[in-house]
């Protein structure tokens, strides 16, 4: 109730701002903005999380301004925090498997579980997500997830060929298989291909050896290693016909744009990336950040996350999913977020075909990264 009046008044405010704004748009940046007392919230996140489509409405309603710094990969995120004074980042969007390390390094504040809708989760795993809790203390709030599998150009590969990681080795794809330039998802997929299933991160020396061999045998197929932008372009313009290490989070955006690409979870299983919010240790704006996280966990916020322009992620709350089906049935259908639909992400988890992305258990991250450099150079 309170909420709706608030948003309404925002609409008025917004209209006024737009009207007046037109005239002063050019001068404004130089004289400082009219609402100069705006609080700034520093955000460390993957690309897109601090863009207007995600935070714009919250910014207007609460007179805050997000200042995002974008990273690529959990290692990169840790490095950025380590190089900044404590308290630099108020909110950190982390991949779930790195929360534990954020916590161990004392970079994040504990959260109060009562602040968040844990009774409304779509899957029970989400309530006690690995690494997010230390005993009974919550350190990170799960926001969204996405599944990684075989991403391919539908004109170059059939859905059947894509239904196994073996598809990457298709002779016609030589030089046309791209890698997302991060070792965890790609090597995880190779581990799945080797049949390690749920133990994909927990590799004995022999299994690790085998994963390296499998990976190396893919090398002749590989046409390049790309960051987010490169992956996008590569798939879009046909430079790459299949991509290892990604999923719907990239092909989904291209699909929305009409490109002939798709992602499937192959029979060996898929990997889930999970993105969670943490409050930076030493942040003076913890209360504001808390209300932002609450907002993103509300149905409205969950819908924003599902529709995020940079890359989509599925809803984790029941109310969020229900609202998505109501307000954007097209996106709900595209991303299979309908009960009973084939490849419904939650159903895939229930069927045991999805494994949460994690860090290597028996080797160190460094070993994996070392091998990755070697692989790129081979």
């Amino acid at each position: 109730m309170v909420k709706s009046t608030k948003t309404q008044s925002n609409h008025y405010l917004r209209r006024d701002v737009l009207r007046i704004g037109g005239g002063v748009a050019l001068a404004a940046p130089f004289v400082g903005r009219a609402w100069a007392e705006t609080t700034e919230i520093n955000m460390l996140a993957w690309y897109g999380h601090g863009e207007p489509d995600m935070v714009g409405a919250f910014e207007e309603a609460n007179n805050v301004k997000f200042v995002p710094k974008y990273y690529a990969g959990g290692d990169n995120m840790l490095a950025l925090i380590a190089q900044s004074p404590p308290g630099t980042y108020d909110i950190i969007l982390s991949d779930a498997e790195f929360v534990q390390q954020l916590n161990a390094a004392e970079y994040i504040e504990p959260l109060d579980a009562n602040d968040y809708p844990f009774d409304d989760m779509l899957h029970e795993d989400f309530t006690k997500f690995p690494g997010h809790w230390d005993g009974d203390t919550l350190y990170s709030m799960i926001l969204r997830g996405g599944h990684l599998g075989v991403s391919y150009n539908t004109t170059a590969m059939s859905a059947e060929e894509a239904s196994s990681y073996q598809g990457f080795w298709k002779p016609e794809l030589a030089g046309k298989v791209g890698h997302f330039d991060w070792h965890l998802p790609s090597l995880g997929m190779m581990s799945l291909k080797n049949g390690n299933g749920a133990g994909l991160w927990d590799l004995s020396d022999a299994q690790w050896e085998a994963v390296q061999e499998t990976t190396m045998s893919l090398r002749p197929q590989v046409g390049g290693y790309f960051d987010y932008g490169g992956t996008f372009n590569g798939l879009k313009n046909g430079e790459m016909l299949a991509m290892c290490g990604i999923g719907d989070w990239i092909t989904g955006v291209l699909e929305r744009d009409g490109a002939p690409v798709a992602s499937v979870i192959p029979k060996e299983g898929g990997i889930q990336f999970t993105e969670s919010y943490c409050i930076g240790r030493g942040s003076g704006k913890a209360d504001l950040v808390k209300s932002f996280i609450q907002y993103m966990m509300s149905p409205e916020g969950q819908v924003k996350s599902a529709q995020m322009l940079a890359y989509p992620g599925f809803c984790v709350t029941k109310a969020g999913r229900a609202m998505l089906q109501e307000v954007d049935p097209k996106e709900a259908a595209r991303s299979h977020q309908m009960d009973g639909m084939a490849n419904d992400p939650i159903a895939l988890i229930n069927e045991g075909r999805i494994h949460y992305r994690d860090i290597p258990q028996q080797q160190s991250l460094e070993d994996w990264n070392d091998f990755w450099s070697e692989y790129k150079n081979a």
Partner: protein
């Protein structure tokens, strides 16, 4: 202040600030990086230490040396290509163009330095793609499509974007400064045009040419944009290796090792080049 020979306040005013400034913000960082290469990383945190593990680890890695030789090779290659491709154009501008035309040409060649290199690279991406502009044009005359992105070719095109304008400018300026009477004298003595280039123009422009080549090499050697976006990181060059290393588990000390190796290489190349450039000609003609 009145005695001009002593090192006085006036002289110090011009000399001292820059020494302090450069010590603080140039020598400081570089030396600190050397120190970092001996630090160790524990639990994602850099800890001060004096250990050789990083050096040992990097220098015994096959992939480091693969990257090293590849970077050396591709940077030398692109510097040579830039120099060769630039030469006829520079020769034409230096000897066949009017002063006015030459001034305009040099001015135009300066322009690229003031456009965003990233934006230019991104343009190349679109031009070189398999479904891109160049292949579309080649398609009209029945050729292609050629795979140009994510190849060595792509990388070299990227480097040339950076180095070719510089090579043309430096070569043009160098050759334009040659005393024209020397060339005429050679002609009058019956020297053929190509022989004139070889025996008169090149020796006289040696310094300028070596400096130009050196700059091309330095720019290509240290650039990560071209090999990453146009070469698809295969194989990764040293700058890409540096980025990869900093991305992985906070391994700044190892990245520092790579950086120091790069600097040592560059200094060696630069000193050799400069020595060659300013060496007295062996024997006179």
């Amino acid at each position: 202040m009145s005695a001009p020979r002593r090192l006085n306040l006036y002289a110090l005013t011009w000399r001292l600030p820059i020494i302090l400034w450069q010590l603080m913000f140039f020598v400081g960082p570089v030396l600190f990086m050397v120190a970092i290469s001996f630090f160790v990383v524990r639990n994602y945190r850099m800890t001060e230490a004096f250990e050789f593990v990083n050096w040992e680890k990097m220098l015994t890695r096959g992939y480091f040396w693969d990257s090293y030789w590849y970077t050396l090779f591709i940077a030398s290659l692109s510097a040579s290509v830039a120099m060769l491709v630039a030469f006829p154009a520079a020769w034409a501008l230096a000897f066949r163009a009017s002063d006015n035309l030459r001034r305009w040409a040099v001015f135009l060649l300066v322009i690229p330095f003031f456009t965003s290199y990233l934006v230019r690279t991104f343009s190349w991406y679109v031009i070189l793609a398999e479904s891109g502009v160049l292949n579309a044009m080649l398609g009209y005359i029945g050729l292609g499509p050629f795979k140009m992105l994510n190849t060595h070719f792509g990388t070299v095109v990227g480097y040339l974007t950076l180095t070719l304008p510089l090579a043309v400018i430096l070569q043009t300026v160098t050759m334009a400064n040659i005393d024209k009477t020397l060339i005429e004298a050679a002609r009058n003595l019956g020297c053929k045009p190509l022989a004139t280039i070889w025996r008169v123009v090149l020796p006289l422009s040696r310094t300028g040419f070596i400096v130009a080549a050196l700059f091309c090499f330095i720019l290509a050697f240290g650039d990560f944009v071209a090999p990453f976006y146009l070469g698809g990181s295969q194989e990764p060059t040293l700058p890409i290796l540096i980025l990869d290393t900093t991305k992985s588990g906070q391994q700044w000390p190892r990245a520092a090792v790579v950086a120091i190796m790069m600097m040592l290489t560059l200094f060696t190349v630069a000193f050799t080049a400069i020595a060659l450039a300013y060496r007295k000609p062996a024997g006179s003609r």
